[in-house]
Symmetry: C2
Subunit: 325 residues, 2 copies
């Protein structure tokens, strides 16, 4: 990464480090602080600062909005982990394991409200537009999480349904993070919308890449165990595509493993992956990722700022595309 | 109640009836709609309309804000019931019983966001002020709920701690509902603040009245079973005061009943109420309620509108004070 991006990342890290440091009662705010301290890529607030920078605005003018986005994102992880009964996040126990379910519920609620406290600090001239975008996005994320939970209870989910779910659950917040930075920087409506669409395409590619890496990542560099999604029957793009494209005997094998309650995890990963291989899903998924990546570049090319200014965003999305974890 | 109030209540009921009627997925929005349909007093949105009316504004100008307040209030009931493991609300199963815990969590989250979508519809000239008031209030309500949960794990809670907790958990939303109506109606800063303080005092009196009615309500008119708070060791004002004022033998009796895990409910209510009687808690609590009620009238008297316009609010608070359920 280049120096400017590193400075943005440090600014974000410092600001996050100050959040919820003193607020009382600690029983309410310590879990919020803990969740935010676990780090992760902190991609979304970075995108807000980069979007503001794209249109010539200083990062300090967008930092509150960037924090709002990151607080909201971490709230959604906190509640999703509770709902999904996920005990570990980024190598650390999740809030409902380290504290309890009630702490996870109420601290998450406090985080949503805190996100709104930060987003409301944007300049008055853009407050209504940004609040509305933020709320519509937040609403879509809840819808996405609900579809995700609903899909887990169904065997058949279509490819369009899946893509719409990940658009809602993942892509819209990336689009929103970028567009808010653009609006704060006074970008034209067209430019702000193109940047939003850039974010949607990057977000879709990003989630599909996650699905792909779970199966085809390099165990040396992936960071998590390969095949985690396969073990827990997670309805990823690969599984949905496999259920649709499989022949009779492949389908029977898949359904046997999906319904098995007592199994050798390594064997399950091996057999399911074999079907994915036979169905050429690495290439098919890779092609779809490439399609969204190219679409994102198209959106970026439509934005009326000198190409030179766009290179940070292009570099960032290349890194996301060719990442190994 | 007078005709104007009845019209306000009908307007609120119609508007609530349209909420979440068509939104998808239904798995996300049906629990939100269900919670709001259970009714209750709908006091808070009524206060917003009455506050706007106090300063000469039409109810239609404040209805979106009133809905935001009621949606937020119902969100907090929904999540509180889940955290408190309360299975019944207003005679109906709570969301986590009728659906499940995940539905309660995610539908509640969607309701917070919806509340913000509605509050953001106020006129642009007052948007920042109202969003900030709303967020600060929402944050205080989370703090109040956390203190309430923390207090349940402690034997000793002081009277000031308890009063601060109910201020946060209950009174601030009543103050906020009123002040938002006033701000929308263009009231002066002083008048809006006096109305807020009126609401705080009414809210404190309201919660203390709840505590009192649980023990000294008329079983014929109360609607719920008398002594529910005693059965589950709820730290009400009466219990806190009893633990503080009790002599040695009363204290021993209280602690015995508080720690009993296998007991006759009627006997527990009888013995605890006997101590409350001996300690004169009906009068003591009644006096404190009266104190807050009189303070609320003082606040109202400071507001610079003709006394004639205040009579609806005075009538409403009298009804709340002298209510039997």
């Amino acid at each position: 990464m280049n120096l400017k991006i590193t400075l943005f990342e440090e600014k974000i890290a410092r600001a996050i480090d100050e959040l919820f440091a003193e607020d009382q009662p600690r029983t309410l705010f310590a879990p919020a602080r803990y969740t935010l301290s676990l780090g992760g890529k902190r991609l979304r607030p970075l995108l807000t600062l980069m979007a503001a920078d794209l249109f010539g605005k200083e990062p300090d003018d967008a930092i509150d909005a960037a924090l709002a986005i990151e607080i909201f994102h971490n709230f959604s992880l906190l509640h999703d982990d509770l709902m999904d009964k996920a005990d570990v996040r980024r190598g650390h126990p999740t809030v409902h394991k380290k504290w309890d379910a009630n702490s996870a519920i109420l601290s998450g609620d406090a985080m949503v409200i805190e996100a709104y406290r930060y987003i409301a600090r944007v300049p008055e001239s853009v407050l209504r537009e940004i609040i509305d975008l933020f709320s519509n996005t937040a609403r879509e994320i809840c819808q996405g999480q609900q579809y995700d939970m609903d899909f887990e209870k169904r065997l058949e989910v279509s490819e369009p349904e899946y893509l719409e779910m990940i658009r809602l659950k993942t892509a819209v917040l990336i689009g929103c993070a970028l567009k808010i930075g653009a609006v704060i920087a006074g970008a034209s409506r067209h430019d702000a919308d193109y940047l939003y669409e850039y974010g949607i395409n990057i977000g879709l590619a990003f989630q599909l890449k996650d699905d792909l890496l779970d199966v085809y990542g390099d165990p040396e560099t992936f960071g998590k165990k390969i095949g985690g999604d396969i073990i827990c029957n997670k309805k990823t793009f690969l599984l949905i595509k496999a259920l649709k494209n499989s022949g009779k005997s492949q389908r029977e094998t898949l359904e046997k493993w999906l319904s098995a309650s007592d199994f050798d995890p390594e064997a399950k990963i091996r057999f399911v992956k074999k079907i994915y291989d036979e169905l050429n899903l690495k290439l098919i998924t890779g092609n779809l990722i490439e399609k969204y990546y190219l679409a994102s570049l198209d959106c970026l090319s439509l934005i009326s700022v000198p190409e030179e200014r766009k290179k940070d965003l292009i570099e960032l999305s290349e890194n996301l595309m060719y990442r190994k974890k």
